[in-house]
């Protein structure tokens, strides 16, 4: 057994400067992270803790004194923080590279009702954005098609992969339904002003068509050998067996009421609400129907002019007060490159009423539970995947977030990428000759 300072280990993996970091090789040597503050993810905190893992799985979590097995490598993490990998739900990483370069965009299919399109079919594991997100502790993500009413089918990936095969954690985990807007925008966006209620008839027609589609899909699911095969019904049928989750994107109280009642009526087995700005106002309904929530990006403006100016920041505390299960999302404008800030929205949750470990739980343990991957990810427990990272300071605060090592399934990641390489290159260049 050999104890090495982590910096030494870091330098051994930094051979890919100037390029996209190479995906890390499978774990062959057992590793013990020792002496750090271990954030389990489910709310527990172990001071002076250890996390041991071999063959990609955690085999020990506890206080330093509890270690009995031996490990090939021991990482000295004293004075540091150890976290389970953060999980980014409701994301589009790998589905788009540069917003304004159309050729790089794969997030929105033509048509309004496209449950059949699968995010994993387009997921680009080589996106240059991914390493920058990983760099701040985000190691897993749910990749979702966007737009329309039924956007498509998402998959869950780990963020250090050669391609879609090894990236996939859970394929086709859910179907995304954007609840039809109750309001139509009016005027033009430079004078955004009044929005009027969506024309009642038009909206009723959409909702009734939606209900029809789901009821037919539910019946289709009963066929053992469907002939002809209907790709849209095939995509939806898992919703009625529980194989897939229905992710409904809605923010306003009435829309949430409608969506929950809809899912119940058409026989959807498992629903997750995405957005959920008003979810705390209809807590009873969500609790009764066991609907957890992926909260919209907390770093956003209040939806309504009259709302408390810090209402978006306080949503997690309000959800907690209602006894609701939730995790934190980052979708919206600039969502791909911005999602490296996921830890900081959790930090904001902590600054506005949540205990820091509860805030962490909303980007780890509860995110894994809501996405249905908690048997493998989301917390540091024996038997789970060794997907974790070490930060010099509180990872939820931008000032102290400093990820020095990270592991996915026990594989030690190459963290630095092109941005770090440019930083070093121009720091030297700008210092002038002789430096």
């Amino acid at each position: 057994m050999k104890t090495i300072p982590f910096l030494l280990l870091l330098s051994t993996v930094c051979h890919a400067m100037g390029q996209r970091p190479e995906p890390a090789p499978v774990q062959t040597r057992s590793i013990l992270v020792q002496g750090g503050t271990v954030h389990v993810g489910d709310g527990r905190l172990i001071m002076d803790g250890v996390v041991g893992f071999r063959n990609g799985r955690i085999d020990h979590v506890g206080n330093v004194a509890t270690v009995t097995a031996t490990y090939d490598t021991v990482i000295d993490a004293r004075g540091m923080e150890v976290y389970p990998g953060l999980i980014l739900p409701d994301a589009t990483l790998g589905l788009g590279e540069i917003d304004q370069v159309n050729a790089t965009m794969d997030e929105r299919e033509a048509g309004d009702r496209t449950p059949e399109v699968r995010a994993i079919a387009a997921y680009n594991a080589d996106s240059r954005i991914i390493p920058t997100v990983r760099r701040n502790g985000v190691l897993l993500a749910q990749i979702c098609p966007r737009g329309g009413i039924i956007s498509g089918t998402s998959s869950i990936v780990q963020l250090d992969a050669w391609g879609t095969s090894d990236a996939t954690v859970r394929v086709d985990d859910g179907v995304h339904l954007v609840w039809p807007d109750r309001y139509d925008r009016n005027g033009w966006w430079a004078e955004p002003g009044p929005t009027v209620k969506a024309e009642a008839n038009k909206r009723e027609a959409i909702l009734s068509e939606l209900e029809d589609r789901f009821l037919r899909a539910s019946a289709y699911a009963q066929r053992t050998h469907p002939d002809p095969v209907d790709v849209r019904s095939e995509a939806l049928k898992g919703l009625f067996t529980g194989a897939r989750t229905l992710f409904v994107h809605a923010d306003e109280a009435i829309a949430i009421q409608e969506a929950v009642l809809f899912a119940r009526r058409v026989g959807v087995q498992r629903m997750v609400l995405v957005g959920g700005y008003d979810a705390w106002r209809v807590g009873d309904l969500l609790r009764e129907n066991k609907v957890p929530v992926i909260l919209r990006r907390l770093h956003s403006l209040p939806l309504r002019e009259d709302d408390d100016i810090d209402l978006p920041y306080r949503l997690p505390a309000l959800m907690k007060a209602q006894g609701l299960t939730f995790c934190l999302g980052y979708s919206g404008g600039m969502e791909r490159m911005g999602s490296r800030n996921l830890p900081f929205v959790a930090g904001t949750a902590a600054a506005y009423g949540l205990d820091p470990e509860e805030a962490l739980r909303a980007v780890t343990f509860d995110a894994a539970r809501i996405l249905g991957i908690s048997n493998d990810y989301g917390s540091l427990q024996e038997g789970l995947s060794a997907t974790l990272f070490i930060s010099r300071g509180n990872v939820l605060d931008m000032r102290t977030n400093d990820v020095v090592m990270a592991f996915i399934d026990g594989r030690a990641l190459h963290l630095d990428g092109i941005q770090e390489s440019l930083f070093e290159r121009y720091r030297r260049h700008n210092a002038g000759p002789g430096h």
Binding site: Q100, M398, R399, F423
Partner: protein, 1002 residues
Amino acid sequence: MVLVLCSLARAQDIAPVNGPQDRDVPVHAFLHATVHVDPTTALADATVIVTGDRITEVGRRVKVPAYAVRYDLTGAHIWPGVVEPFCDLGMKSSMQRSGKEKGAHHWNDAVHATTMAAALYAEDSVRARAFRAQGVGLVVTHLRDGIVQGSGAAVLLADRSPALDVLLPRASANFSLDKGTSKDPYPSSRMGAIALLRQTVLDARWYARQGSEQLRDIDLAALNDLLDLPLVFEAKDRNDVLRIASLCEELGLRPIVKGCGDAYARASEIAATGVPLLLPLDLPAPLDVTDPFEAMEVPLSDLKHWELAPHNAHILRDAGCTFAFTTSGSERPDALWPALRRVVLAGLDTATAMAALTTVPAELFGLDDQVGAIRPGMLADLIISTRHLLDHQDTILETWVAGRRFVQVDRNRPDVHGTFDLNLDARIYRLEVTGMGPTPRATVRNLTGDTARVKASVQLEGQRVGLAFEGRKLGIAGPVRLNGILHRDGAIWDGHGQMPDGRWIAWSALRQVGEAPERVRMGRDERTLDSLYALPPGDIWYPDMAFGSPRPQDTLTAIFRHATVWSNGPDGILRNMDVCVAGGRIKAVGRDLRIATLFPGRHPPLVEEIDATGKHLTCGIIDEHAHIAISGGVNESGEANSAEVRVGDVIDPDAIAIYRSLAGGVTTVQQLHGSANPIGGQSSLIKLRWGRDADGLRIADAPKFIKFALGENVKQSWSTRATRYPRTRMGVEQLMMDAFQQAREVQRSQDAYAALRPKERALTPAPRRDLRLEALAEVLRGERHITCHSYVQSEILMLLRLADSLGFHVNTFTHVLEGYKVAPELRAHGASASTFSDWWAYKFEVYEAIPYNAALMQEAGVNTAINSDDAEMERRLNQEAAKTMKYGGTTREKAWEMVTLGPARMLHLDQRMGSVEVGKDADLVLWTDDPLTIDAHVVMTLVDGVPYFDAERDKELRSAIVAERQRIIGRMLAEQRAGARVRKARVQREGQWHCESLGQRP
């Protein structure tokens, strides 16, 4: 004498007629009416004589010529006809312009100075009838299209030929800030519209001086003539009213502004401009607020406006404003009198109300010798009504226009309402008649005993009536059908009818004695509504929306004790310090400050002690790159060079973003033009003085800035079809080079003119003012600083070289995400850099953007700032600054400077702000924690010593918002219960602007 009057009193039509001409000059005598000769004078039992189209006599002892047509108007009222000062009657068919006008017109298709309403006016009998039904006799109409709309005409609604009905062909000159049907790309924004108006007025004057020698522009020629007319500008809201007032003051013009019914919230500021207003009488209906979730979508600003809108007029009266009413904008043509009644119930006196419909608009358009009152010699525009016009049971019987009679309701029509004894086939039944119109509702029942009641249908035709009902429930074998004649104003009906068995019988109905006929509008409880309308409104808040307050905050005289002070000075971060603010400035910074020393003399002021133990005190955050609080578009994208547009023209002081940013510790922002064109518009520098008007936000004597932009936005790479030059970065360079060359020429000709001796100058016409090039000449002279939107290294270097070659300086590169690659060059030029903490990958030119940019530039000696460009990020700029510690290892002090002293320096405001040092503006933020940690909350934000944000007060404001909402919603529900019509809730979802945002309609 009579002969002379006749020839005066009859409009002469020179058009030939088919057959003999109607040569008669009728004389009408209106007798025994209450005559309201003007808003303050009513003559009881008086007579009005009308000869031809004129009033010839008015009074109580008037001799009525024997040949007069006599009208006995006992009990009725006569009023001057209403003057509608703002409408587009008769212009509909001219609205379909087909592309650019042919001929020697102005280059911009939103300038229609040659348009004449008098030349376009076409009869619109439906709308004219609707106007007359309200008592309107004269309208000032114009073609509502474009920024310069041409002249409006005063038109009588006398239903004659336009040649006779147009009373004054050039009654007004009309303007707006909306380009209307113009297909020209410029202007695309409100600030562009204002800039176009400003330049066009200057050009018209130049055209009169000398311009006509160089080019022929019939619009500029026409505009010169228009400027002598009453100038009517259309405003979209109260802030527009103030914008128009200050634009006109700058141009030496005196406008009349058509407002929007929300002026009450800036009444004193608007009154101070002296601008007369045309106030719309379209009052918002109560909202459907039954479902509380639905009602959440209605912002308090809408609720408050609903409550205060009827009070607009009397608040403006009290502030000293002159105003006339207009029905323009009203969805329902018959809303005038009900709306005015509400306005009067709300507190406007009747005399002012009536004047605002008659004498005031007449005076505004120089027509007060013709219309607006009942005096001999004036046009016979009259209203005859049953009661006072503001009585809700009043009926307008007739409208007279230019001596022509338009019957609205037949004065002799019998009133059939009431309870009657119906004598039918030797039995008596009870008949009850209610409702309005030619088919009132009626029921028939037996006189005694049973409660059976059947519906009856009634048909009225003049003096004749038809009545039918099913008789079975009343003991008759089947249907009964009756025909009859009305007598005694409907009190007696009689005639013949046919019974179910086919027998013809005689019948009669007699109204019960003592039964007063009353017209009741169904389903409305008028008395309850009246008492609701008369309730006082809540306070006006500043601004009149959520988080506004009724009274301004006081300037603090205070000492913050034991704070950790982030001085941004040589001493860095100091613990346990006291900071004293007084008179809007930082008075002292030190340990254990003593009031007696700070304020010597016998009467020291009351000094508030604020315990800041454990808290951090910093200067306010300065956002070098913001687009908040801008109205009508952040981009004037219509031209590649729009240096003449001024963001300062369109400050929106009612933007909630101001308050939210204050709550994030921001005190100063540069409101930048967007980045849609290489040479954008002039910036505005404001402090976030929440609650003040636009002028109150401006930083006095602020340095001048202009936005430039490079790269993908300006070459419109988002479009595959755009043809605007430039399409490449190469074109950007040449476009700028060319613009500066032109600016040099402008400078030379102005210098030459200025150098003339006074005698020569008197003989030489002044050169044309070109506001676009003058702004660039200011850059060349070093009087205006450039903030240039930029991304990649090549374009940054291009502009640096261009600047060096032309001898100007680039003050700031903003965004500058590849600044880290050219940091030494930036430093060498002395340019500052204002960048994002971690944005990238949203377009190709930011694919090499790195979050280490700020740290690298600062390390290389470039004055660096972190900016927001985003209303959401703006309220977390402290966190964005903290990211420079994570990305690049900046120190705390240096990180903090990036959102305070750094931007202050690049805005040339560092003498006044950017640090906590004695003598600087008291723009201070008290934080619960180190502001660079995510846990830090703002306790208080001071601007000039005024606590515009205070976390404790914010809690009170939240409660106040809830209370105010509940109160107003209660009123709405009460009105709904009393039968008022409600409208669907409307939703406000704010759009966010970035510099990419194009000010174009989709």
